[in-house]
């Protein structure tokens, strides 16, 4: 058979395969094609593979071989399509795998300790104002302190439209803070500087408000931050922990190639990053719709209850659900024996 005849004979099938690729590729029909078309697609695909082998073995014109390479590649990528999110397995992932992974993650532990130690120390130094005289002023600057105090003195709640607007703003703002911490932590040292800066600034602000130079501002401040504080601070720690995990994987490879270890760790980190993102969104919603209500509309007790509930939920999720099952089963098995 002549090459020209082969091309003439095969081109209708190649075109048919192209059309099927177009049909599958341009819509979500891929999963719902009739059985006849699926069978036909497989037949044409196998045939095109054989044609490609033939083209390379007998050196068809380069353009023909190139065409067949691309046709087979296209058909292959349609036959083995991207694996979508498996919603059915998410229950296992969300309630068992993710909390367990976060609970045992040393990077999260380090970020947690680093953040909270600096936060509490900064708050103590700013509130005490004796051990380090003028600590809050050194960290925040007198001008910013007076701005914060004035802002909270004048704060008397928002309208519902402004609440909606600010909820949107908080989602963007929180997401940006989380992403910034995450990205900086990939370089480890800049990440610790960023996380430390956040911890010290937030701690100093809390310390100034605890000091109570302006009682009205302090009251409004704690009335504002109580409800969403646990969610937002935990989210910052988690995003920093996720970044740190990847940043450290570059140095400590556990015997793997650096790039392989990086790939493996990145996949493991996705749940932590997604968890941080969810907490940021939750924090933004609470900050947008619960926190800004003045004492008259929503008493502090209610906001404290929200804070206690969210803290309890976080503890339950990360500690109870995340506690290693092997340790639990060993404990109970030991008890039985």
């Amino acid at each position: 058979m002549k090459v020209s005849q082969i091309l003439e004979q095969r081109q209708p099938q190649w075109r048919e395969l192209e059309n099927l690729c177009n049909e599958i590729g341009t819509s979500s029909k891929g999963a719902r094609l009739p059985a006849t078309q699926v069978a036909r697609f497989s037949t044409l695909y196998r045939s095109a593979c054989a044609d490609l082998a033939l083209a390379e073995a007998w050196q068809f014109p380069p353009k023909t071989a190139e065409y067949l390479h691309r046709l087979v590649a296209r058909a292959h990528s349609q036959m083995y399509r991207a694996e979508k999110y498996r919603w059915k397995t998410w229950g296992q992932k969300v309630f068992i795998d993710v909390p367990a992974a976060i609970f045992q993650d040393p990077a999260v532990h380090i970020a947690l300790v680093f953040f909270w130690v600096l936060f509490l120390a900064s708050a103590f130094l700013a509130q005490d104002d004796l051990i380090w005289k003028g600590f809050a002023e050194d960290v925040l600057g007198s001008e910013q302190i007076s701005q914060v105090e004035t802002g909270f003195e004048e704060f008397s709640g928002r309208s519902w439209g402004e609440n909606n607007l600010m909820a949107g703003f908080y989602i963007i703002n929180n997401g940006s803070i989380g992403l910034y911490c995450f990205v900086m932590m990939l370089f480890v040292v800049p990440g610790f500087i960023t996380l430390g800066q956040n911890a010290v600034v937030l701690g100093a602000t809390f310390g100034v408000m605890l000091r109570g130079d302006s009682p009205e501002a302090s009251e409004n401040f704690f009335n504002f931050v109580t409800a969403h504080g646990p969610l937002e601070l935990t989210a910052i720690v988690l995003s920093a922990g996720a970044g740190l995990k990847i940043g450290v994987s570059w140095w400590f490879t556990n015997g793997n190639r650096r790039i392989d270890n990086l790939k493996k760790t990145a996949v493991e980190t996705i749940p932590v990053a997604m968890c941080a993102f969810c907490l940021f969104v939750l924090a933004a919603l609470v900050e947008g719709f619960v926190s800004p209500h003045p004492e008259d509309n929503l008493p502090w007790f209610f906001k404290a209850t929200v804070a206690a509930l969210t803290s309890g939920m976080l503890m339950f999720y990360f500690v109870v659900l995340g506690y290693p099952r092997s340790i639990l089963s060993d404990f109970f098995d030991g008890g039985e024996r």
Binding site: K2, L7, L44, D51, Q59
Partner: protein, 348 residues
């Protein structure tokens, strides 16, 4: 000759072409895409997201106008609150679409965002398989590293609108990584184990045709017992396909080197145009030459054409399938391709 230091990878690469061999022993090539074409796809994606966002804004404005028209008794204060709320909603839409557009599109659309589809690209795993949702998430999450570093907005006094903004991205990290990577992978691609390849479509190959009647006549004069080796066939095809892009002098110069020994071998006069000689040999090789004379590879079973009367699953399942001609026709004792790969590149 010393053996290669590293075993030949399953995924070989020659310049911008990556060869992939799947577990089913099918080998084919992908062309990986460089940074500037990918930048175009990214710009298109940003444009699409921007237009969608603009569409949301217009929809909300139209809804307000309709609301004001249908319910004129609504107070101005209520409208003010609604407008504030819609700004919040728009902020959420903008953030979510910017953060998740890439990951969701690439997962649900088999490795293609809309921008990639327009520019004929697809994201696949480096082993040639389709990407999964986690890979799409990873490569898009790391985009925030690829777009670094940022120029602080404070150095542009006009743009100093928001002091906490990250700044203007320079994309340098991603660009340097892509230039250094043989598969043009940015950091996100390296971490997720993905690459971006060309998806060309609707391009059917044709053999070259000749209007000069001398080509056919000269082809008939070439001895029938002359065996065109695969290397010569490839050289002929490459030359003829490249001829339209070459000037006459350049064509002559290239053709002369190949045609001269052939003309001597065939006993043709030396004054025959070497370009004509190669065209004639191409014509004979690909349009006249019966491949069964030299290579036992051409008896490929045609794919059955489906008619309305036969289009049932049973009929198709029972229909003969074009098999690998090498596996079927390789002579007994030929152990040159025990791997069973359907695309034995470099086969003599």
């Amino acid at each position: 000759m010393s053996p290669p230091k590293r075993p030949i990878s399953q995924y070989q690469q020659l310049d911008t072409t990556v060869r992939v061999e799947t577990p089913e022993k099918i080998a084919f090539q992908y062309q990986v895409i460089g940074p500037f074409r990918r930048l175009m796809a990214y710009a298109l994606d940003l444009l699409i997201v921007g237009l969608a966002f603009l569409g949301c804004c217009v929809t909300i404005i139209v809804m307000f106008i309709l609301l004001a028209w249908a319910m004129p008794w609504i107070s101005g204060d209520f409208f003010k609150e609604l407008i504030s709320s819609s700004f919040g909603l728009l902020a959420i839409i903008a953030a979510v679409s910017f953060w998740f557009y890439g990951a969701v599109c690439e997962t649900l659309r088999n490795g293609q965002t809309l921008g990639k589809q327009i520019t004929h690209m697809r994201v696949i795993s480096t082993d040639g398989s389709a990407i999964d949702g986690v890979q799409a998430m990873v490569r898009n999450l790391f985009r925030f590293l690829d777009i670094m570093p940022f120029i602080p907005t404070t150095i542009f006094f006009v743009f100093d609108f928001y002091e906490d903004a990250w700044g203007i991205p320079l994309f340098l990290a991603g660009l340097i990584c892509m230039v250094a990577s043989p598969r043009f992978q940015r950091i996100g691609d390296l971490v997720a184990g993905t690459m971006v390849v060309l998806v060309e479509r609707d391009w059917a190959p044709e053999l070259a045709s000749f209007t000069d009647p001398r080509v056919e006549k000269l082809a008939e004069m070439i001895p029938n017992d002359f065996v065109v080796t695969p290397a010569l066939a490839k050289a002929l095809a490459a030359f003829v396909e490249a001829t339209p892009r070459l000037g006459p002098a350049h064509s002559y110069e290239i053709a002369f080197q190949l045609a001269k020994p052939l003309m001597q071998k065939f006993g043709f006069p030396a004054d025959i145009d070497p370009t004509l000689m190669l065209n004639a040999l191409y014509f004979k090789t690909f349009s006249q030459f019966n491949t069964e004379d030299t290579a036992p590879v051409m008896a490929v079973a045609p794919v059955p054409v489906i008619s309305a009367a036969t289009s049932t699953v049973e009929n198709i399942a029972a229909a003969p399938v074009a098999e690998d001609p090498f596996a079927r026709q390789a002579p007994v004792g030929d152990k040159s391709d025990q791997s069973g790969a359907m695309n034995p590149q470099g086969r003599p």
